[in-house]
């Protein structure tokens, strides 16, 4: 089973090497810590590029050349099983890129630099673990491990209300994880604890068996697959976040430091949707089809509700946080379509949202470094920002790129994924498409309105001291700008990676429709 | 004894020495070597004074002998005649031993100094390592000299000197190792024979790393021999005269002599390692070319070759010697922290990188020098791309 390459191991453990390195660097040498982390993330990025180059687009399943499988806990048939396919590969690329940029954007952090970077790299490893694990147990372990650095990163380096946000984030996600754990154990027992009963790939083979099963819950007979699909769904939905479970997101985003917001929005939210595609959908295809309308409706609520909420915000970061809710709704909608276009669009949207929203958060971080507040309109009604276009020309241009990418301007990356999602969903839920298109409209409205209030007009007195982006900031915005533009004009590099795997999932689901 | 003055002589004269003969010849050669180098050391003091005077637009010594060339003899005689004063609180045994240790350390290195292909006392197969080993005695000597004087100036000077020597030994050793890597042997003659007579065949121009390495090495040996700008152990203004403050007479002259001979030896070693040592262009040193042109008995050609090699070696060595003196009278003295940081933050990392770089160079280009590479490149491209 194991492939010829050890690359996934390197990618997974390279950040941990970085953590170890940081631990031996003296506390006083903050600069060394930064450079070390930068070098480490850069190496990981290089490894990812190597992985990308070795990636075989023609394969629709796992990339056998990179698969690593060895027994971990033999008694329960738990394996250390790493593999990559078209669904996880874009996420790996995104993770490597964003962490590299986040190290750069956290350059000015001066509070416990060592701890910060160590946790950041630790988080990176955990995120890789989630995207690479093909063993449910391993997946769960990484899913949980990821919470720990995140908790501390928000709780220590966050804004004034950071403890509340961190605890909220932690409890919310943990609640979901517990449901997922229950589901995992149920699956283990349902398969009879045989070999590979934790393997995400092997579990697919049992899908038909799950459909017929019943499970007794408080004395009622409940269909096995539907019950545990709901459990898994809630577990992943909290991460996405889907409508009733979304309230941790604004808190976490507003309180988190810039880099963490970027990671949170750029990578961590995708873990939820990735979980759907990797676990919930293929293992419970029957239930997925059964609940597809619910998923679509929830996605729709996300889009519209998130957009409306975003429009009312006066805090820029909160606004972008709600816009993330709205955009992840598109992903949900695309997944609910279960057509080739819809699912491909959803995965592409995961990637594109990762880049565009990361840009937005990075930009807000840059602004925050200058202003130390984020009010578009202060609570007392005065303008928080104004005339930034005059004051920060380069910044404004980058902001425009990010904003229009986020609202799906053709030629920038967001458009293609949204168009594919709409195309996918139209044939199934025409009414919902019409309503979701409204979300596109409002999406443009709140972003442009925010832009107008912050950037046009006379320069507000306190903005006159702001300096334009410096070389470092331009440097770390550049890759994202390039990605947003290039993948907007030429999406094939990413689509070619994913389409085989996604289409095979579509074919799988189509059997149950 | 694969190659030494004894074997050379036997080869020259076609005469099989018995071991007693060999022993006697060896003894004589050693005696000569020591005395000649003592002479060179003495001349070193003269050269130092003369060159410094030149640099400062002065006359320098000019009374004793022509151009004052006998000045060092006069000084030597004066020092010989002076009494060795031992301080009361001093550790007498160590006080007397330490100058000897210094001198012994320096003289011991002469045993492997390849002055010419024949004029080498013994060609140990671990020659360069031997140099490193015995020259560390100098450090001990300096340290003990400082300690046993029981004076705080001497004490500080001695500690500074020893610290400096052992810390600068690191980059120097690394540079030597990188040269050994290129040559593939520790023996001095191997090191020389791997190089050629012309500058582009020297190791200094073999590759960029070695080029940097030469300067690191040169700075290192300046510090090892406690020469300016690294003369902190004997800083006049701070420590009166450093570790030999309390010494007088012959004991003092031992220290001084040891210093000058050490500079000479180290210059010679750096010439050997980087500048092609005794190698003469166009293999004239072996004498075969001379023989084939001049005809006549073989030993004439060989003798001329030896003389040419001698000339080459001394030219290079004395050029470096001149540079050392020039530096002394040009650059200001470093502070202690600068000295330490220069060694550990700059020279050591650079020399490590050089070592890795040279290893990589040897691996990638199969030991070819940069000029060879360029030449082969030009040849292949100019020759119609064969």
């Amino acid at each position: 089973m194991s492939g010829t390459s050890n690359l996934l191991n390197w990618i997974l453990w390279m950040p941990i090497l970085g953590v170890l390195g940081i631990l031996v660097i003296p506390k006083a040498k903050a600069g060394v810590v930064r450079l070390w982390s930068l070098a480490n993330t850069f190496i990981t990025l290089g490894l990812t590029v190597k992985l990308w180059m070795g990636f075989d687009n023609a394969l629709s399943g796992m990339q056998d050349a990179f698969t690593i499988k060895m027994p971990w806990i033999k008694q329960f048939h738990i394996n250390y099983h790493l593999a990559v396919d078209g669904i996880s590969m874009p996420m790996i690329i995104l993770t490597s890129l964003l962490f590299f940029l986040c190290v750069l954007c956290s350059w000015k952090i001066s509070k416990q630099v060592r701890g910060y970077y160590a946790l950041l790299l630790f988080l990176q490893s955990a995120v890789y673990g989630v995207f690479l694990s093909m063993d449910f147990f391993l997946f769960y372990v990484y899913w949980e491990v990821m919470l720990i650095p995140m908790f501390f990163l928000i709780g220590i380096w966050g804004g004034e209300n950071r403890e509340y946000a961190a605890v909220k984030f932690f409890l919310y996600t943990f609640f979901g994880s517990i449901l997922m754990l229950v589901g995992m154990i149920a699956l283990y027992h349902a398969t009879g604890g045989e070999a590979d009963s934790f393997s995400l790939l092997a579990l697919r083979e049992h899908a038909d068996k799950f459909i017929g099963m019943n499970v007794s819950l408080f004395g009622f007979d409940v269909p096995f697959d539907k019950l545990f699909f709901v459990f898994m769904f809630i577990g992943f939905a909290i991460k996405v976040p889907v409508f009733p479970f979304h309230t941790w997101l604004p808190h976490a985003h507003v309180q988190a430091p810039t880099a963490i917001s970027v990671i949170l929005a750029g990578v961590l939210l995708k873990m939820g949707t990735y979980g759907f595609l990797r676990i919930a959908f293929p293992i419970f295809p029957g239930a997925t089809v059964y609940f597809s309308e619910c998923i679509a409706v929830l996605g729709l609520i996300n889009i519209i509700y998130g957009a409306f909420c975003a429009m009312a915000q006066t805090d820029v970061k909160k606004l972008i946080a709600y816009s993330s809710v709205s955009h992840m709704g598109f992903v949900m909608l695309g997944m609910a379509a279960m057509t080739s276009q819809g699912l491909n669009g959803a995965v592409l949207q995961m990637f594109n949202h990762g880049t565009s929203t990361a840009m937005m958060f990075l930009l807000i971080g840059i602004l925050y470094e200058r202003s130390h507040h984020r009010w578009i309109v202060r609570p007392d009604g005065s303008k928080g920002f104004g005339g930034l276009y005059t004051q920060l020309p380069v910044y404004s241009i980058v902001f425009i790129i990010a904003m229009f990418a986020s609202m799906g301007l053709p030629g920038l990356s967001g458009f293609i994924s949204e168009a594919l999602i709409f195309l996918g969903i139209y044939s199934k839920y025409t009414t919902m498409t019409v309503i979701a298109l409204l979300g596109l409209l409002i999406g443009a409205a709140y972003l442009l309105w925010m832009f107008k209030r912050m950037f046009f007009g006379e320069v507000v007195e306190e903005c006159k001291s702001y300096e334009d982006m410096n070389a470092r900031e331009i440097f770390y915005m550049t890759p994202l700008c390039v990605a947003v533009i290039v993948f907007g004009i030429w999406p094939s590099p990413i689509l070619n990676i994913m389409k085989g795997s996604v289409n095979s999932l579509v074919v799988l689901l189509a059997k149950y429709q | 004894m694969n190659s030494s003055i004894v074997s050379f002589l036997s080869e020259m004269t076609n005469f099989e020495f018995t071991s007693l003969h060999a022993f006697i010849i060896f003894g004589i050669a050693c005696f000569l070597m020591v005395n000649v180098s003592a002479l060179i050391g003495g001349l070193g003091t003269y050269a130092e004074r003369k060159i410094s005077a030149d640099l400062q637009m002065r006359q320098g010594p000019n009374r004793v002998g022509p151009f004052g060339i006998l000045q060092f003899l006069a000084d030597g005689v004066k020092l010989l005649l002076k009494e060795i004063i031992i301080p009361t609180q001093a550790d007498k045994v160590l006080f007397l031993i330490s100058p000897l240790l210094c001198l012994a350390g320096v003289f011991a290195t002469l045993a492997v100094l390849p002055i010419s292909s024949g004029l080498i006392l013994t060609d140990l197969n671990i020659g360069i390592l031997y140099v490193l080993g015995v020259s560390s005695l100098v450090g001990v000597g300096i340290f003990l000299g400082g300690y046993s004087s029981n004076s705080k100036w001497s004490m500080l000077g001695g500690m500074r000197g020893a610290a400096q020597i052992i810390s600068y030994e690191v980059p120097v050793t690394l540079c030597i190792i990188s040269i050994v890597l290129m040559a593939g042997g520790l023996s001095m003659t191997t090191l020389v024979n791997e190089q050629g007579g012309l500058p582009h065949q020297w190791y200094i121009l073999h590759n960029p790393f070695a080029f940097i390495g030469f300067f690191v090495f040169f700075i290192g040996i300046l510090a090892e021999s406690n020469r300016a700008p690294f003369d902190l152990p004997e800083a006049e203004s701070e420590l009166v005269s450093g570790y030999h403050t309390e010494y007088s007479g012959m004991a003092f002259s031992f220290f001084a002599l040891a210093e000058y001979i050490e500079v000479f030896v180290l210059c010679g070693i750096s010439a050997t390692l980087y500048l092609g040592g005794y190698k003469v262009p166009f293999e004239l040193g072996s004498g075969e070319l001379i023989n084939s042109t001049l005809g006549g008995p073989e030993f004439i050609g060989k003798g001329i070759g030896q003389l040419l090699q001698l000339g080459a070696f001394f030219t290079k060595t004395f050029l470096l010697y001149y540079v050392v003196i020039w530096i002394r009278w040009t650059l200001p003295r470093l502070r202690v922290d600068q000295l330490v940081s220069l060694c550990w933050k700059y020279l050591t990392p650079i020399s490590i990188i050089n070592l890795i770089g040279i290893a990589a160079w040897e691996w990638i280009f199969k030991g070819q020098s940069i000029f060879n590479l360029i030449a082969s490149l030009l040849h292949s491209s100019g020759g119609g791309g064969h």
Binding site: C309, N344, F415 | -
Partner: protein
């Protein structure tokens, strides 16, 4: 010329590369950026000219087209396949559009070097030219597009450029309001456009024009099985896409953005908001004309066009801002084009698009020339208010001349281009009205609008250039206009092309005035652009990029069919009569409008103030643009949308998050109080600490053995070791 990727793509790529290069150059090397920008569009126009020559003077039939396709990206894999194709589609209409866009854009670029000079000198970078390049590239891409998706892509890109250029004077708050308004209003239309694309894409599997026409011919769009929400697919898709036109071409009810768009620099108004981008909406509706036709939407289109044409003209009557008059006239003229589409006057609508583009670009450039000279030394801003102008003809003769040419053209005076095109639209409207009662109102509105057009344009000219200068101080400061290549030359070139002779051999379209020429060459423009016959597209086979064109050339020329497909001799005669009547009526109306204006503003025999005071209610309504802006902004957005947003946000954070989510903390508090008591007393104190205490006892005993003397340990080791070894 071989139509392959290497030959055609350049027309779009030249300005695009200029954009890419300028994006980096504009900040530092402004001059180079300007040169690159102008050079790129000039090169594009050379290409366009070449295509134009091939198509118009080559021996192609009027319905000949070239289509090349390549796959943009695909989702093939695991047995599923889905391709997204892009391509070019060139027919006569495209060729004419390309030439118009490139030439107008080139001239406007040249004019911009004059107009934006001060702007760039005052420390602002050359981003104007960056956006202009991108815009031109997008517009050309749109024109070349072979499918609705790429039309949409370039459409949105143009919207972005429009947004950025309206916001060019970003230090003004108004610019921010105007560009957001422009973008959002068009976005409303665009969203519907996208919906239409989705509907078509889903049903026929492709969005290419050719496939769409073929599907229309096959009856896919009218098949009841494909109904959406109970209406036919054709009506659904056609209306959705036409909403895009409404948004982009500023038709009623989404016309509100265009007047505000005048916040941008005047050259950008000329290029984007007069000549090309807004016309792209009409271009789109021409492309989907078969769809509108088959869906039976044409009356609706005609109504919207008529209402827009008349309504905008009425608002233009009372405007005092120089550019606002032009903006409303643009809306009005776009209304005529849409009216032309609605009444099935395909050819005339397209002709009006071209003629309008030329004379309106010229008008805006002239306006720019005027405004740029009128510099108020107190406020340091350019003056746009007509009440402060007057008598300018003495100071700027070239501008005056060019502007008069255009005014006559737009007013519909014979021998000028506007007459040729507008008159044909009105004639066709008249015919349709006589046949179908639905078209009566649009036709009347059209004729009424024509009168008003002539009037308000002449009013504008009289107020601006004639009479006595009303603001003497301002007038004194105006520099005398000297001929310069970048200020006057573009105006004059455009003015030359306002002559009708360029567009119609017959000068009127109704053969009222005949020019002796060989038969069939009389109305060259009309013969080249014809309604696409959907049945011809059924047998289309796709061609890939890179293939040189192999199709047979030299198909005979088709002729413009003035008979409207009618065969009955009597009806044809009737149609001809109606056209003549229409032509005479419109000539009369045009002169009437000019006359009224002359009486009011030159002779001052009729007092405009009387009209104002008599119809004060109407006057106020017109000044407030029929209160539509107020309705949208104050009514819909401020009263409806924003409170809803705030309410939802309050529900989210204030109610749901605070009470329902965080409320769980209270529940857990009860549990942990009890657990704490149990834990503290029993578990911790008794059990845990008890264990510790017992361990401490042993501790005391063992501690004494450890002396810490290392040599003692050492001796012990030696002794034990020795004993052990000896024992062996």
């Amino acid at each position: 010329m071989d139509y392959t990727i290497s030959t055609i793509a350049w027309i779009v790529l030249f300005p695009f590369f200029a954009f890419v290069i300028n994006a980096f150059l504009a900040r530092k090397a402004t001059k180079i950026a300007v040169i690159i920008s102008c050079g790129a569009i000039a090169l594009s126009s050379v290409w366009a000219l070449r295509i134009f020559k091939d198509f118009i003077f080559g021996n192609y039939a009027s319905d000949f087209y070239i289509r090349k396709v390549f796959t943009w990206f695909d989702l093939n894999g695991a047995g599923l396949s889905f391709n997204v194709n892009m391509g070019i589609y060139i027919d006569n209409m495209t060729a004419i559009m390309l030439l118009m866009v490139t030439v107008v854009a080139t001239l406007i670029h040249i004019f911009s070097t004059y107009y934006m000079k001060d702007d760039m000198n005052y420390g602002r970078d050359g981003r104007f030219f960056v956006y202009m390049s991108l815009f031109t590239s997008a517009m050309l891409g749109l024109v070349l597009s072979d499918n609705l998706l790429s039309v949409f892509i370039f459409w949105e890109l143009m919207g972005f450029c429009s947004y950025s250029l309206i916001g060019h004077y970003y230090e003004k708050d108004g610019a921010g309001n105007a560009n957001i308004k422009a973008f959002m209003t068009t976005r409303v239309g665009d969203v519907f456009f996208l919906l239409g694309i989705l509907a078509i894409w889903t049903n026929i599997g492709s969005v290419g024009f050719v496939e769409m026409y073929a599907a229309i011919a096959d009856g896919v769009f009218t098949d009841p099985a494909n109904n959406v929400f109970g209406i036919s697919l054709a009506a659904f898709a056609g209306m959705s896409i036409f909403m895009g036109t409404i948004g982009k071409s500023a038709q009623f009810p989404l016309q509100v953005w265009l007047p505000d768009a005048m916040y941008g620099p005047t050259p950008c108004s000329a290029l984007i908001h007069a000549a090309t981008m807004v016309a792209a909406g009409v271009y789109l509706s021409l492309r989907i004309f078969p769809l509108l036709d088959v869906a039976g939407l044409t009356p609706l289109v005609a109504w919207i066009g008529g209402i827009t044409a008349f309504g905008a003209a009425t608002i233009a009557l009372v405007q005092t801002d120089f550019k606002a008059v032009l903006a409303y006239s643009t809306i009005s003229q776009l209304g005529y084009m849409v009216l032309g589409v609605g009444v099935g006057s395909y050819n005339a609508a397209f002709m009006h698009l071209i003629t309008h583009a030329i004379f309106k670009a010229c008008l805006f450039l002239s306006a720019g020339s005027v405004i740029h000279s009128l510099h108020d030394h107190h406020t340091h801003e350019h003056v746009q208010e007509m009440p402060r102008m007057g008598g300018l003809r003495h100071k700027m003769k070239f501008t005056w001349f060019a502007m008069w040419c255009c005014t006559l053209a737009i007013a519909g005076i014979p021998f000028f281009s506007g007459f040729v095109s507008k008159d044909r639209i009105l004639g066709d409207a008249l015919i349709q009205a006589l046949h179908n009662k639905v078209y009566i109102v649009p036709a009347i509105l059209g004729f009424a609008g024509a009168l008003l057009t002539a009037f308000y344009m002449c009013r504008m000219m009289f107020l601006t250039f004639h009479g006595e200068p009303r603001d003497k101080e301002l007038y004194e400061h105006i520099p005398e206009e000297k001929f310069s290549w970048n200020r006057n030359l573009p105006l004059l070139i455009l003015a030359v092309f306002t002559l009708g002779v360029w567009f119609s051999g017959s000068l009127t379209g109704q053969k009222l005035v005949k020019v002796a020429s060989p038969e069939g060459k009389l109305e060259w423009f009309s013969t080249l652009v014809v309604k696409p016959d959907v049945n011809k597209f059924k047998t289309y086979t796709s061609e890939k990029w890179g293939n040189t064109d192999t199709r047979v050339k030299g198909i005979e020329k088709s002729h413009y069919d003035p008979k409207h497909g009618m065969t009955n001799e009597e009806e044809i005669h009737h149609v001809h009569q109606v056209h003549v009547i229409g032509a005479i009526a419109s000539i009369f109306i045009a002169f009437a409008g000019v006359f009224i204006a002359y009486m009011m503003y030159i002779r001052k025999s009729w007092n405009p103030g009387w009209w104002v005071s008599t119809f004060s209610g109407w006057y106020r309504a017109l000044q407030n643009k029929y209160y539509m802006d107020d309705l949208y902004i104050k009514g819909v957005i401020q009263k409806g949308l924003l409170p809803l947003n705030r309410f939802l946000a309050w529900i989210d954070m204030g109610l749901y998050d605070r009470y329902i989510v965080d409320g769980w903390a209270g529940v857990s508090k009860v549990f942990y109080t009890f657990s704490k008591w149990f834990d503290d007393l029993w578990v911790d104190t008794v059990m845990v600490d008890g264990t510790g205490a017992s361990v401490r006892l042993f501790n005391v005993v063992l501690r004494t053995l450890q002396s810490g003397k290392i040599q003692f340990y050492f001796i012990m080791i030696i002794v034990v070791l020795a004993g052990y070894i000896l024992a062996l």
